[in-house]
Amino acid sequence: MDSSSMDMAMPMSMSISNSMSLSTTNLHGEQVYGDLGILAFKISQMKEQIQAERVLLIKEKVEKNRERLASDVAQLLSLAVLRTDGSAKEISGEGKMLSSRIKNPLSILTGPSQASGDDNSSTQEVAISISAKLPVVDKIPPYTTWIFLDRMHDYRNQRMADDQSVVGRRRIYYDQNGSEALICSDSEEEITEPEEEKHEFSEAENRIIRMVCQDYEPSEEVLEILAQSIGGNISEIHEAYHMLKTEDETLNQDVSVSADLGQDRSISLDKSLSASLDSLDNLFCRRCLVFDCRLHGYSQTVITPTERQYHPLESQENVKPCSDHCYLQFQTVKKYSDRPDVLNEKHTRTSDECPHEIHNSAEPGKRKVSKQTTTMLEEPKHVTDDQQESSLKKQKRLSIPDTVSMTIEDAQVSNDKVMVVDVTTPNQDELQMIPTDEAISFGVPNSTSRCVSADVIEDSSTGVHLLKQASNQKQIGGSPINSEWKPLEKELYMKGLEIFGRNSCLIARNLLSSLKTCIEVANYMYDSGAATSQRSFTACSMSDCNERADADLKELEVPSRSRLLRRKGRAKKLKYSWKSAVHPSLWRRIADGKNQSCKQYIPCGCKSMCGKECPCLDNATCCEKYCGCSKSCKNRFRGCHCAKSQCRSRQCPCFAAGRECDPDVCRNCWVSCGDGSLGEPPRRGEGHCGNMRLLLRQQQRILLAKSNVAGWGAFLKNSVNKNDYLGEYTGELISHREADKRGKIYDRANSSFLFDLNDQYVLDAYRKGDKLKFANHSSNPNCYAKVMMVAGDHRVGIFAKEHIEAGEELFYDYRYGPDEAPIWARKPDGSKGDDLLVPQGRAKKQ
């Protein structure tokens, strides 16, 4: 009964006495039950009481705060007094002007009331001799504080965060000279807030509902009275009523349960991978390969490519072990051993024993250790090394040896073939070069696979992340339990197979680090392989997980083969001419598209071929590498196959279409690494594609200084030649509606940094951007802006229109419209050749 008062922040005695009094009324007779007149009275009584409690609470809070503040002030006071003592410098004669002025003021002004006692006497003029003049300091041109989209922000445009919208918000302007303000909100209908807001019941209101539901049935009348006195409508109150009721019941039933609920938020290894990834899955941007991508936003629709690439890692001899726990360490063991059967037997036995061992793991591992020593006799050195290791790990290691040789081809191998060594050993260099944290980049063996394997990589990187948490948790939690494969571990293992093939070193390191050792993975891999072979002969007797592993493995193999075939076919086709690189109708569309602003690309999720329903086709954009459709999709932009460094003219289909070349798509365009130190843009020398300048950020150093024309200006540090790329105009990506609204605001401040990007977005460099936002307008400019399609995104590049000397100020044509109308309100004129793109007409900086 008193549960309602339990969770109140109010003084306990009050609420208890309150519910006591209610219950007494209730006890006194059944007639009270359902007496609605009394109910209304009770509610108002309760309200008063709640208000009284609130008053007390505030008093209490204010009083507490006062005490705290008093001690703060005391501290400040002592500091202020200390400063008096610390004025040693003043004694030496320096810095005592203020003190000496106190003794000899410039003038003394006696109050008028002192003299006459007359309040209405005139004010005294202060005629003051000047102590010092403050010399003029040059002002800087005005600007609003902005964020430089620098390395930390990946130099990229950022999509506007939801809370940054000015649409529907009132903006008040005032006249600087007077204090009169004028309200400039948008049309009234924009402001009107949704009336049908759900009534949220406060704690106090819940308390009243609770009180009522203890004493009354929730009849229409009761709810009606409640609604009248505390607000909300009947159905809302009904809802709240039931919610509170169940809440109370559970509260009464088991307090401890509810306490437990909140705690277990960490990732459990017993959860499935998909469940663990649930919340993280759509936070990953498959286009940028980062979490929480500011450019494409979170909660993107997940598009799974229909075809995946599978890269079996090249085998190599003389591989070094990845760690002490590497399965390779045990090859030697195996070679010396001439009793494979025994080993195998042992292996089965150990794994059978696993659960048992876990139960015993609380005991000191002496028993286990001794057991190991006997089995490890073949190589004493190892045993001594292992003494230092956890006994559980050792036990697992014992059973590894033969796994080494398992490959996809070996899947059917029976037990007697197990001894074959080194069919698929990992690439030693890769193993050593790649630290765990870079698993993501490593998952892309060459650039071509970037898009296709993106989602695999995503899973793995999330996995790694999860794992780190999971392993931390484990360490805190006590002794590691390594011998058992948890569902999550199994699934991570499957992902590892997808990414790395049957390479236990890489899987263990990148996906199961600190959960499973290489040996354990190798062993598990062997188990799975064995399962396959067994299953082909006998009835299935293996565990679920193994079956799944096999199934996945098979799926994996099929596409990788078909891909190879397709590749051959495509290679032939591409020989014809560059014209075939693009689908004919699409080609035309691009050519025709000059009079329209470009279309924002949204990856389609079509399976294999794009048909009429394909959003890309519908939207008149090409399919890109981020689409779900197959590579042979007719709507795909196929890139170019220009010879080296030929991509700088309209001869190159990419260049002609206003796109940068894409090493993943174009045939001969790639970046070789190693020239130039890291961090520096590689020199554009022979052999390099000249049409990836935004992608590679091969930009010029831009300087910011006072403009020779107006306000701030952008200047060039080093001289450049015609058509050289200078830099990118970056900013916040906002919708046209938003831009419209912001444009109005900016016009008042007479400074706008809007730049029309495509049919969906406008770039706003007002609060985020780079120095090029300060390049001024000129009708005879030395630069031009061009929207380029770079890896599926539209970006604005600023290029030199002519040779520009070092230190010159940069200008480009903002393309002010004849009527200065916002660009999105009229059709941009595409008369000027190629640069279909059209800077925002309103930009004007002062």
Binding site: K47, Q51, E53, V55, K59, V62, N65, R66, L69, D72, Q75, L76, L77, L79, A80, R83, T84, G86, S87, E90, G95, K96, M97, L98, R101, I102, P105, L106, I108, L109, T110, G111, Q114, N120, T123, Q124, E125, V126, I128, I130, S131, A132, K133, L134, P135, V136, V137, K139, I140, P142, Y143, T144, T145, I147, Q164, V166, I172, A181, S202, E205
Partner: protein
Amino acid sequence: MTKITLGCEPAVGSLAPSKKRDYRVTNRLQEGKRPIYAVVFNFIDSRYYNVFATVGGNRVTVYQCLEGGVIAVLQSYIDEDKDESFYTVSWACDADGTPLLVAGGINGIIRVIDAGNEKIHKSFVGHGDSVNEIRTQALRPSLVLSASKDESVRLWNVQTGICILIFAGAGGHRNEVLSVDFHPSDIYRIASCGMDNTVKIWSMKEFWTYVERSFTWEELPSQFPTKYVQFPVLIASIHTNYVDCIRWLGDFILSKVNDCLIQSVDNEFILWEPKMKEQSPGEGTVDILQKYPVPECDIWFIKLSCDFHYNTAAIGLYNSGNREGKIFVWELQTSPPSLIARLSHVQSKSPIRQTAMSFDGSTILSCCEDGTIWRWDTVATS
């Protein structure tokens, strides 16, 4: 304002003055013709508790309050740029205890004046637009905060001339910042408010090493690695209009609700408790505890002042209808709040931009748009 629900009602102060204390005009100065926007006592150094500074136009003036309503003029500084119009001034000092004055205004240049040597100490160029308020960290009086029209708040070290932090960016203000204040004891915590109708509470905790570095920095100040603080720990959207004054009162915050722009002429200060969520910064809630009405006031950019112990506060108000400039004196830390006195004078016909309460609250100074400075002293009540 957020909707006030049952059980969350604030305690509203009554407008009937308690007359616990009363004040009378004891002196009146005409400093010039230009509006005086700020007046402030020196609470940094106990030697100068009765010394105050004013700014108006391109002038910074230092005075002293003497017995019997007498005001002595001590120092006066003129900016050679006649177009400068100072909006704000604050007392600070360097490590040696030399008193400094930090003033800023329409030019956006912060002037640090060495009052101990009567010369300019440093000028900070950096703000992209006018400076609306400057406040000093009383625990470390070389640190000052400036609130600017360029939408940022900046933390400066006046001793070394370094801009240490810039509070702006992704989570920053979206319009002019009008007011800013240091927490009285939590040295990491500041609050700011402005024309985007929000109050933001920021933490400098993870940037504190930069603050410490600024004291020992020996290279050029411009080479200091100034940091952006982009995300506040709490954003309170409790107001629907400009918030032009903010002060910490212990762990609570006093902020001014400015309703004068939307027809109603009633403003009020609210005292509220910020409730931060440590897990998700930026998303706290607020509990509005008390209200101090400022009735019949239809101008904004008015600031409140407190005595050293935060017991009483004085706020100027002005009604353009009857052209009356009044001062309300509130008892701050009682619940419900109580009005001590309502000060008016037949000749007080100009908007009062700021008041200054003396150390013990016995003297109130007010500065007006017509360039006058008024001194009010307590009179013994029988």
